[in-house]
Every structure is written in C-alpha cells, then in structure tokens.
Symmetry: C2
Subunit: 456 residues, 2 copies
Amino acid sequence: MSEENEKILFELSDELISQVEQLIVEKNDKELHHLLDDFHYADIAEILDELDLEDAIYIIKLLDSETTSDILTELDEDIREKVLKNLSAKEIAEEIEELDTDDAADMIAELPEDRQKAVISQIEDEEHKAEIQELLAYDEDTAGGLMAKELVKVYETWTVAGCMRRIRGQAKDVTRVHSIYVVNKEEKLIGRLSLKDLITAKSEQKIAEISNANVDSVNVNDDVEDVAKVMQKYDLEAIPVVDDNQVLLGRITIDDIVDVMKEEAEKDYQLAAGITSDVEHDDSIFQLTRARLPWLFLGLLGGVGAFLIMEGFQESFSKYAVLFFFTPLIAAMAGNVGVQSSAIIVQGLANDDVKGSINSRLLKEMFLAALNGFILAIFLFLFVWATKGDMNTALAISISLVAVIIVAGLIGTFVPLFLDKRGIDPAIATGPFITTSNDIFGILIYFWIAKMILGI
Amino acid sequence: MSEENEKILFELSDELISQVEQLIVEKNDKELHHLLDDFHYADIAEILDELDLEDAIYIIKLLDSETTSDILTELDEDIREKVLKNLSAKEIAEEIEELDTDDAADMIAELPEDRQKAVISQIEDEEHKAEIQELLAYDEDTAGGLMAKELVKVYETWTVAGCMRRIRGQAKDVTRVHSIYVVNKEEKLIGRLSLKDLITAKSEQKIAEISNANVDSVNVNDDVEDVAKVMQKYDLEAIPVVDDNQVLLGRITIDDIVDVMKEEAEKDYQLAAGITSDVEHDDSIFQLTRARLPWLFLGLLGGVGAFLIMEGFQESFSKYAVLFFFTPLIAAMAGNVGVQSSAIIVQGLANDDVKGSINSRLLKEMFLAALNGFILAIFLFLFVWATKGDMNTALAISISLVAVIIVAGLIGTFVPLFLDKRGIDPAIATGPFITTSNDIFGILIYFWIAKMILGI
C-alpha cells in the first residue's frame, strides 16, 4: 500500500528542496539533471515555486527548453512573472516555440505589452507565430481565448489510406488525438471520426463514408462557462471551435475545462466567504487586504445601520432591555437563513436547473423557512419563558424570530434570482451582501413585531 | 450568432414538453421517434425529468435500450429510482447490458438489495456480469468504485501488426481509446502506448520496443479525491487502476473525475453556507429542512450564548447602554473575518498548497487582521465620536473592534488547520461553525476590553 501511496502523490519535502539548493551551490549540473529528469514537469514546477528566484532561474537555464516550457506553464503566476523578467526575449521565444499555441498565447498575454512584441518577433516558426497572434486577439473568457490551434483535420474527399499518411504528419504536433475533424473544401466543419474508426475502416474507403456528421461544436465567441457546461453535459473530451460560418478554427480539450471549472468553483466559494478577486493564501498582505476589506466595510455599514435602529427603539423598550440582548441572535439567524437560501439558488442557477416560476420557488422557500422558524421558535420561547418567567416577552421574541426567518429566506431566494435576471453574477449574493442586508432587515422586523405584540 | 447560441445549449421549453405529452396521449410512436431521435440522450433525460412518471416510462419503453440505458444514467436520481421501480428485473438487466461496467455497477448499487440480485441474475453476458459484480465490491469513494473494466490491453510480447488486429476487437467495447495499456504475462501493468504510437510504428516491431514504461497509475483502494488531484495535476485523460501487485484492474476516465470535482465543489459550497448533506433546490421540504436545521440550531445556541454574555455585563454598563447597540456590528465583523480567513485556508488545504509552519501562517493572518481592523476602527471611531461626542466610548468601541477582528482571524485560521490535522474535513469550519463561535468570542472580548478601557 505505502509504495502505491507514495507514487500517487508527489510529496514536496524540505529534504528535497535542500538537496536541490545544495547541488545548485555546488554547480553540480550532472547530479541536478540526474535528480530532476525523473520528475514530471508539474512536480519540478512545485520545487521551483519553493526556491529562491536565482535558483529557480538556474534550473530553468539548466534544463532543456522542451521541459522548461512545460515547467513555466505550471509555475505559480507570481513566480513565473519574476522568472520571465529575468529571461531575454530570445530565451522566452525559445520556450514559446515548444508550447502548444494555447499555452504559448497565455504566457505571452501575461507579459508587459512592449515585451510581448519583442518576444513574438523572435519566434522563428512563422506558422506558430501567426497562430499565436490569432489567439491573442480573442477575449480570454471566450472559446477563442481557450482553444488551441493544434488539431488533426482531414478533407472529406480523402481516402482512409491517404488520411492515415497525412495524419502521421499532423499528429506529431498534437499531444493527444481525440477526434479527427472532417472539413469540406471551404474549411467548414462537417463531421468527425476517431482514430478507432480509421483503424477499423478499409483503406480504400472515402472519409465522407466513415465520418460522423453529428459533430458538436462551439462558436469562437461563446462564453467559456457555456463551453464547460456543454462538454460536461455531453461528456466530451474535446470540442471543435468554429466561426460564424462554421469554419474550423481550433479545439478545446477537457483539461483546460477542468481548470476553468476549478477556478469558477474557487471564485464562487470565495465570493460566498466575502473575498473578491481570486486570491490565494500565500498572496501578499496587500492583495489579501484589498480582496477582503470591501466586504468588511459593507459589514461595518450594516452594523452601523443596526446601531441606528436599536437606538431608535431605545425609548420604546426602556422597560424591556432584555429584547436588546437578543439582537445578535436575531441577526445571526437572519444571516444564516439568508445564506442557506441563496446558496441553494446560486448553485441551481449555475447548473441551469432552476426551472418553474419565481413565485412557486418563493412559496416553497416561505414554507421551508416557516417550518424551520417554527421549530427554532419553540426552543427560544421555552428558554426565554424559563429564564425570564415572562410569557409575553417570550412570545414576542419567538414570533418575531419566525417572521424574521421567513423574510430572510425570501430575501435569500429573491436576490440571486433578481441579480441573475439582470445579468449580474448571482454568486455575489451569497455571503456578506445577504448577511448584512438580512442583519438590518432582521433587527428592524424584530423590533416592529415585538412592539406590536407587547402593545407599546 | 443566435444560431450558434441555440446550438451550444439545448433549451428545454414548455412547448417541447407539451408536444411530447400530446404525442404520448395520441400514442403517436412514429412521430415521437422522429422527434426524440434527433436529441442527445442527456437532453432526452432533461425532458423526462419534467414529464409525469407514466409518460417517462412510456418513452423509456418506446426507445431502444441502447439509447434508454444512457438516458437512465443521466436522469435525476429520484426520477430514475421511480422509473426503475416500474421496470421488471429483466427489463433493467437489458438496460444494464448496454452500459459500460462503471455505469452499470452504479445503477445496480442504487437498487434495493433484493432487486440487485434479481437484476444481476438476469444479465446474460457472463463476462459483463462478473465484471459488474467485481466493481460492486469496491467502496464508492475509492478508485475501484469509480473505475470501469473497459480498456484496451496488449501484451508486451505482441507485434504491432498483431496488436492492431486484436485492438480492432477490443476497441469495439471501449467508447474512447485514450491509452493502450501494456501488461506482462502476469497481467502486471508495465507500460502504455497511444493509438498514435501504434499507427506511426512499423508493423513488425514488438510492443515492448515502442511502449512507454513511464505510466502513471493509481491503486484500487486510493481515495477518489486523490485520484482527481493526480489526474488534474498531470493533465491526464485516463489513468489505469492496479492492485497492490501492480496487476491491471481497470481505468478511470476524466469525465468521471469532472463529476467528482463538481460534487466536491458543491458540497464545500453548501457546507460554507450551512447546509449539510448534498441537497438540490428541488428536493423535498423535509430533505431541505433536515439539511439546514442543525446549523440554524447551532446559530440559535450561539445567540443564546450572546444573550447570556450581554445580560452578564448589564450591570457594569448601565451607564453605557450605547455599547449594547454595537453588539450586532461586533458579531457581524467577527463572523465575516472568521469566514474569510477560514475560506482561504480551506481552499489552500484542498489544493494541497498550505506549506510552511502553522505559526508563520497565524502571524501573517494576525498582521492582515490588524491592518483590516485598524482601517475599519478609524471609521467606527469617527462615527461614534461624531454622533455621541464621547471620545472614551468611541475609543473603547474602536479598540475592541481591532482586538475582536484579530482574534476572529486567528480562530478562522487555526480551526480548519486543527480539523485537518485531526483528519476531519476542514470545510465544515467555514460557515455557521466559525460564525457562531466568533459571534460569542467577539462579543465577550468586546465587553472585556470596553470594560478595561472605560475603567468600570
């Protein structure tokens, strides 16, 4: 067991880092090669993320560009930026030559604008250069920004035998052949076939006879999140990208979609936790502050609002000071219920499975909130009655709690639906936004209802 | 544009549903075939999710089992359960025959135990039956529970030509050929090659000569989340599964991993929002209540705790009633900061990139919290001073706020790290758990410090 477990996940150890650092000090290139050549480039990138900048650059200059280009794509973004700063335009261009067009374009896009031009001008392979420049023109959130130009394309008029010959040539540039795309003489996508189809066909057959006309594709301007949904729903491992005239432009593979999905999930999770912009725990204090402070400030404003409401009711409830001691409870319940309701809706919207009318949804949420509220209110009623011995106060607090929970549930359901209709990412609704507004509404409703019940 | 957009996402319309329902009433099977045969099985599953049970069963019985087996795997779990209840063991077995072993085992595992046996006994293909029974024995959270038996396997001693011949046979059962796995005569995995390698090799070459010995694999008992990490990190589209003796047992494909990742992300998101167990917005009110109520009850206890604390300080602060009006603000800030800190750590832990010592992490979080707290405290100080005109009160509230925020940040950082060390999913720390404990700690610290500063 332990052997397999070691194998499954590469473990970055302090010993390994020290060993690499020591070998760099000794300039023992042979031993470094010997040590690192066994590792996957993604593992070497993890090692480099932990080294000093000079040491990382030493390794990048030591290994051949076929490996280092892949390592660079896997490096932490901040580290990559620093490493690339220390390489000449010529050296970066050499790395770019080794990369697939999608990774190449992504790496160039991260460079400052003047460097971009310098690097592009140093790329020797004219076709690679033109393809990268094409990709750089697309918005990064569209299919065009995600696709690679590398694909295997055959014409419908070819024979299987001719096709096999040509594919041997094209496939060298394509890391993984998922599908072979069939185009007509206008370069329009008209079908697909798999290597399996090709192997099992007779060599004199025409491509048109064995290709499958039922080929999914996405438009170059489609949103990457929509592309992710299509590939996931239909279990696709690659999807061709076409322009408005159905001309084949590139293809997107599932590994890029996996990255998109992961980023999207992390962004939503962070938004729900009150963190804007994509930060990681090892970002600088300044970056982390900038991502968190706006939401905290919103919370501060909410707290000030709650303060003003309580002050406004101070006179009325001078005899019922105990009511004020329950405001944190009311605020917490309103916030929690709101977050729960909004989270369910936000997830439903993300999965495109929120069907039916808004009214029936609000009605269901109202029932649910009323049920939860009622159960919780019984406990609260018994607690207040037992400790304070005043049934009126206990009733006022408990009935208010039910009302607050129902309203909180409705707000939590309505706000994301409303934002979504307006074309705003509903994910911002789960978290501080809903918590803060529910705090204020909750406390206001609580005092109103308590006032009515106690007849003040 | 609009044409492409229509194509990219199948849109379920009320018109389409009515059309299908009407055709079922008319028993117009020909027209139903004509309409549905154009749709992808995942789209037909969406239609069936919206139909009445009898109508859904009508469609399942109408279409051929090659299509309906795939439709069944895509149906909403509740609907599938109901549909399967209305099919005989024989009918289910016919659907199972059409499925890959992994989907077949998953579908059987959902059936009640006595039906499982009845269905399995009706499977005619003995090999398929044995493979499904093998898969049913693995824990669903392990590689074994996720893998399929379908794969393309060749022996190292074969020639390329012989291999091509055999593959034509094996590949028929395998939807997608990612890699061809090379085994020795003990069935141990010793390498891999791609169809591309095979096509570009000479027909008299031995497999051993052209295969790549550097093959990643996972153990059948490995946790699916670890498998997901490996496949994601190394951009793999399929990974072979072996036993402790390196004997090849099956393979896992990326589309299954995509589903695992999605479920994991949704579960974490729900936990952060205070929802346990995997629920969807269209689950029953009872299911939704059971998922939400425990966390709300925790919040209620927290609120009662806050009440007791405030009551305890009632005497001391009789002259400073204004302090009580800021408790919702203090509680909200403590909760928000705690959630922010814990979310970052939970994500870091999920990505395996929380390195370095706990102490340095706590120190960083303390600086960050102090910085945020200081900025927010200045605003609060100015507000209280301006509205109340009492600098002492303003100072007491503001300084407490900074302390509360620092402690909240430390708790938010420490709790998930602690849970993780103990082998508990740290994701439960983000959300009501941290909010509630921080509410109580926050209010307690607030009154303590205010008491010291005001010298009561």
